[in-house]
């Protein structure tokens, strides 16, 4: 039984406070969803939890089974059992999946004799074409293939807690289902605790959350059961200070003064 406890977490980027006191506890086997308008701090939360450079934690604590994660470097947090499935998985030219996973296992003296078999097995479970296994990490992969690749790594690394940032972006319906089923299976087989970060409720139809939290202006302003996601689908985030209008078919239209590019802009840029 593992437990990730986030208490009073505040963080800034370039002097601007993005997280303004986040409290959240995720236990093994649970699926939590964080939803919220653009700019609420969802991706910042995921990056701060993994210690991405450029984010300054100004207050609060993050503990995994009592161990202070904030005192650790990123790689140590990963070794401690935290996994981040990235919204935009980075291309790493010339570095293979196998090289990376071997290096990760070696750093913790985990045995990796059956690494290749394990990778193949995971690829099969989520319908990830084996030909992609030879490619350098994320290079020349479509958006959906990148997300499958992230899920595959989750399966091989078997973390305690996984943070999945916009896992659904780039995935078609079939792929979304396979990936969701794999993660759901991990919550049962490996007792994985999951924090999914998503803007839309589409993902949550496949991966049913135990708890849904609304993050707005750097704080969790409302928590509830899976029905909260359905409610947000209807009402949008306007009530939470977001500029989003109700979602139509999982899409939203441009707001006044907003350009198309703004919808995809990195809030930190």
């Amino acid at each position: 039984m593992s437990e990730l406890i986030i208490t009073g977490l505040r963080a800034s980027v370039g002097g601007t406070e993005i997280l303004r006191g986040v409290d959240l506890t995720i236990r093994s086997g649970e699926v939590h969803a964080i939803m919220g308008p653009n700019g609420a701090g969802k991706s910042t939360l995921s990056h701060v939890l993994l210690g991405k450079p450029g984010y300054e934690v100004t207050a609060g604590s993050v503990k995994l089974d009592g161990v202070d994660l904030l005192a650790m470097e990123t790689w140590q947090r990963a070794q401690a059992g935290l996994f981040l499935g990235m919204q935009y998985p980075t291309e790493v030219p010339g570095v293979s999946l196998l090289d990376m996973l071997n290096a990760s296992f070696a750093a913790n003296q985990r045995l990796s004799d059956d690494m290749v078999a394990s990778i193949r097995h995971e690829a099969e479970r989520i319908g990830f074409d084996e030909k992609f296994l030879q490619r350098p990490l994320n290079v020349d992969l479509s958006g959906g293939e990148k997300k499958r690749n992230e899920t595959l790594q989750l399966g091989v690394l078997r973390p305690k807690i996984a943070i999945l940032d916009e896992l659904d972006s780039g995935l078609d319906v079939d792929a979304l289902r396979m990936v969701s089923q794999r993660i759901e299976a991990a919550t049962e087989e490996d007792n994985l605790g999951v924090l999914v970060i998503t803007h839309y409720s589409r993902l949550l139809e496949e991966l049913r959350p135990d708890r849904v939290h609304v993050l707005a202006k750097g704080q969790i302003v409302k928590s509830g059961g899976a029905e909260l996601a359905d409610e947000l689908e209807e009402t949008g985030y306007a009530a939470y200070g977001g500029n989003d209008e109700p979602l139509v078919d999982g899409k939203r239209s441009l707001q006044d003064g907003e350009t198309f590019a703004d919808m995809f802009a990195d809030p930190l840029a």
Binding site: T74, A78, F83, E91, V95, S104, N108
Partner: protein, 414 residues
């Protein structure tokens, strides 16, 4: 024995060298005020500290070096610039491979922008090693050359000429090593590729850290012929290579590849010329380097398309990773196009290890030093995959060793 016309006269065909040696030694040495040597430490070259090697030394090459790589059509040893051993397999001989020493003559005038170092090379080289393969012969095993330098403050002047007959195929692999004593090598390589022939010429330079290694490669690629010239530059205090790739025949193509890694105070210096002087010629230049500590690199390249170079495809790429704040890299690609029917591209970058790539690997549990090793190895892989298989592991090991000792590994680890 210092440099003088009289010492040159002690070499084979000595009497004929006198005038050239006099001219070479009277001329000023190159200076970094000339564009060709800009940013380089050439002004610090102190010729007087070195002595030319006037007699063939006994073979110095350790047997472990000779055993590297399996299968060879021939093995040649060069010690301090002198060819000390030539062994050609009976099969390669029967196929038409001939390796010999050419009679000495002054060939410095053949070079474009010939300078006093080129003349010095011509005046003091013991003679040219000549490797030639007859037309239509195909050798699967490479010709292996081991160039070694030993002794303190020795200057050596190796000279290699390779000529591949029409339709023939040959691979030449040269390893260059030296001890940790200060030394100077001024070398020259000339490659001639006949019509529809293929030549792969690969060099692994891993001389000692006190060594100055100044090389000039000239190539002439004939009609429909293909040249792949690859250099891995790891050793030396100052290592320079000027390459003149002349695509002279219709449809000739050339790949120019380099990987280099500088650490401590090393300087790696590359000047390249891609001359397209015939129709439908292609060239692809990819040079990739990593600089650690206070090391630097210079890349200056020129793609030159002559008026009759219609249909040219030319690419020129130089990418550098800086592992420390004090490391430096100059990268200056140039184009000179005198025909409109061409497609040219060039790109150059100098940047630290990509922060997002680092974060991605760290987030999967890979420790920082290992992550940087993977990223740098990955950065080189695209080029390394075009090197002969037998050199790839050796080069990867050299990269890994440099990453283990450089200040970047200590900085990341702290």
């Amino acid at each position: 024995m210092s440099f003088s016309p009289e010492t040159a006269a002690q070499l084979p065909a000595g009497a004929r060298r006198l005038d050239l040696a006099t001219t070479a030694l009277d001329a000023p040495l190159p200076s970094d005020s000339a564009e060709e040597w800009r940013y380089s430490p050439v002004t610090r070259l102190d010729l007087d500290r070195y002595s030319p090697q006037l007699h063939p030394p006994g073979p110095q090459v350790p047997e472990s070096e000779l055993a590297k790589g399996c299968g060879a059509s021939a093995i040649v040893q060069i010690d301090n610039g002198w060819v000390t051993s030539i062994a050609v397999t009976a099969g390669a001989k029967a196929s038409g491979l001939e390796i010999s020493l050419a009679d000495w003559s002054d060939t410095s005038g053949d070079l474009a922008d010939s300078n006093s170092l080129d003349q010095l090379h011509s005046a003091f080289t013991p003679g040219a090693l000549t490797i030639s393969l007859v037309a239509n012969a195909v050798l699967t095993d490479p010709v292996r050359i081991l160039s070694s330098q030993t002794g303190s403050d020795v200057a050596s002047f190796p000279f290699i000429q390779v000529s591949v007959g029409d339709g023939a195929e040959l691979s030449v692999i040269e390893r260059q090593i030296s001890g940790e004593d200060p030394g100077l090598t001024i070398s020259r390589v000339h490659l001639t590729v006949g019509a529809n022939a293929t030549l792969h010429h690969s060099t692994l330079q891993s001389v000692g850290s006190m060594h100055w290694h100044l090389a000039r490669h000239t190539t002439s690629v004939g009609e429909g012929a293909h040249l792949r010239a690859a250099i891995a530059s790891f050793g030396g205090s100052y290592a320079r290579l000027r390459t003149d790739a002349d695509l002279v025949g219709r449809g000739a193509s050339g790949e120019l590849l380099a990987v280099y890694f500088g650490d401590a105070d090393q300087v790696h210096d590359f000047r390249t010329f891609q001359h397209h002087s015939a129709r439908n010629t292609q060239s692809d230049l990819v040079f990739k380097g990593t600089l650690d500590d206070r090391a630097g690199s210079i890349y200056t390249g020129m793609v030159q398309i002559h008026p009759n170079g219609a249909g040219t495809l030319a690419n020129q790429t130089n990418h550098n990773i800086k592992l420390s704040d004090e490391a430096w890299a100059w990268s200056v690609p140039n184009l000179e196009i005198e025909n409109n029917d061409v497609r040219c591209s060039h790109a150059s970058t100098v940047s630290p290890v990509d922060a997002d790539q680092r974060f991605y690997l760290h987030a999967r549990g890979v420790p920082p030093v290992e992550a940087d090793k993977l990223i740098v190895a990955g950065f080189f892989r695209e080029v390394l995959d075009r090197f002969p298989v037998e050199l790839r592991d050796e080069i990867s090991a050299l990269v890994s060793a440099k990453l283990d000792t450089g200040s970047s590994s200590r900085a990341v680890a702290s």
